[in-house]
């Protein structure tokens, strides 16, 4: 999911760049040297995991996984997604150079919201907590990004209204699949290597 080159008008993509610069600056403050490889690893995994196709009836969809990036990297997720978007623009021409800002804002914003949701998990004492909160975080990450995407299209002009609506509807199945996959991933990581997850209080879970 991304906005392609050539659709948005300059005020919007310039605003995207400005907002991304500010948020990236804020979320990358006090970056430790040791975090650099960790962020790069997650970016690379995020990058290639988006190549995984999941069948959906006769068609198939690609995983987005920005929610998972959020729950693994916390606030550093924004930087990771920015790198992923830059690489996609350079290597694939997916998205594009001018829309790096807007695309980062869209997916990175979703990741930050997912992280916020994920952090609320200790307030609830429920069964399979990691699965439930992973799933909610995955769904909300997708929904946030889809909403940002649709709003940006609407802002561009009324002739994009139909496309914006189509985009929102198309996000419903993606949201459900993301929720299931991210939930399963979060639970698996909690069982296998909990220190990978962001803000994990429990050191040993088994």
């Amino acid at each position: 999911m991304h906005i392609s080159e050539g659709i948005l008008n300059p005020p919007i993509w310039l605003t995207g760049y400005a907002a991304t610069a500010v948020i990236a600056g804020l979320t990358m403050r006090k970056l430790d040297m040791e975090e650099v490889p960790k962020i790069s690893v997650i970016t690379a995994v995020f990058f290639i995991a988006s190549l995984i196709k999941i069948p959906l009836g006769p068609a198939s969809i690609h995983l987005i996984l920005n929610g998972l990036v959020g729950i693994v990297l916390g606030k550093r997720a924004f930087a990771a997604i920015m790198l992923g978007i830059i690489l996609q623009a350079i290597i694939f021409g997916h998205g594009g150079i001018t829309v790096i800002g807007i695309n980062t804002l869209m997916l990175g914003g979703g990741a930050l919201v997912a992280y916020f949701v994920w952090q609320q998990r200790y307030r609830f004492n429920i069964k399979r907590r990691e699965f439930v909160f992973g799933a909610i975080a995955g769904a909300i990450g997708t929904v946030t990004s889809g909403t940002i995407l649709a709003s940006v299209l609407m802002l561009t002009g009324e002739e994009f209204t139909t496309i914006a609506e189509t985009v929102l509807i198309a996000h419903i199945p993606i949201m459900l699949i993301e929720a299931a996959v991210v939930g399963a991933s979060a639970e698996f990581l909690q069982k296998t290597k909990p220190e990978v997850l962001a803000g994990n209080k429990s050191t040993v879970s088994t």
Partner: protein, 262 residues
């Protein structure tokens, strides 16, 4: 999937022999100029220029067209949705839905601009080794941390892609067939989790090895940049073209889209 954008970096061409720092800066200006275009005739000229630039870069046609095909998949629906959903007068109706030429023109504009910009991007990053491009970015005041992470990520991408293929093979060997059900989602969730952990541990070992060899966050490369007068002449031509494109576009000699586009 062509992930190695710099596969043909060694092909000798005018663009290949351009100092990467100046190349990125000058063609970057061209990209932003194309992004500003809002009239169709100028977009056609920009497209022709981008094709010419690819020819100057001497990149094989199949390499570029393979890359462009991913962009095409995303852009083709615009030609269907835009004319049929464009507000205002429609030229004629298809199956009860109005077809507006204005919408078609907007779709064509988006298409030409997007394709042109991607071709210029290919020309920039396809003509130097990836690490050289990144080092040039650092010289252009791109934050050091960002450049390092881009390099790490680029390197890891290939390693993890192999890992993912191996895992996929072993899944298929055990008879896993993806379907639309909860089990598939669960399996993919664990798949991503496993990929993450394996990648993580591998990187941890690599990082420790790097530390023990004295890594302190600096990049030492055997590349030195040297700019010759011809580099600046090429940059001058590129920027002149960029300025001319925007100037003709703004001169008002051509029609702009009526609604919404500014």
């Amino acid at each position: 999937m062509a992930l190695d954008i710099d596969r043909y970096h060694a092909v000798v061409s005018l663009v290949n022999q351009w100092d990467p720092r100046i190349k990125i800066a000058a063609l970057g200006v061209l990209i932003f100029a194309i992004a500003l275009v809002k009239t169709l005739p100028v977009a056609v000229v920009a497209f022709a220029l981008a094709v010419f630039l690819i020819w100057l870069t001497a990149l094989p046609f199949h390499f570029v067209s393979h890359g462009l095909s991913f962009v095409l998949i995303f852009l083709v629906p615009f030609f269907i949705i835009m004319p049929l959903s464009y507000p205002g007068e429609s030229a004629f109706t298809i199956l009860g839905v109005g077809f507006a030429w204005e919408g078609f023109r907007l779709a064509a504009l988006i298409f030409l601009k997007a394709i042109s910009i991607v071709m210029v991007t290919y020309s920039i990053f396809g003509s130097s080794r990836f690490d050289v491009s990144m080092f040039a970015l650092q010289k252009l005041k791109c934050p050091k941390v960002v450049v390092q992470m881009l390099l790490f990520t680029y390197r890891y991408t290939f390693v993890f892609l192999d890992e993912m293929k191996r895992m996929h093979t072993s899944m298929s060997a055990r008879g896993f067939v993806p379907r639309t059900n909860m089990r598939t989602m669960n399996v993919f969730g664990h798949f991503v989790g496993t990929l993450l952990i394996r990648s993580f541990e591998r990187t941890d070992r690599v990082y420790k090895a790097m530390l023990s060899k004295g890594y302190q966050g600096d990049l030492h490369v055997l590349v030195t940049f040297e700019s010759r007068p011809s580099d600046f002449i090429k940059a001058g031509i590129a920027i002149l073209i960029a300025v001319t494109l925007v100037a003709i576009d703004l001169s008002g000699n051509f029609n702009q889209a009526v609604i919404g586009w500014y």
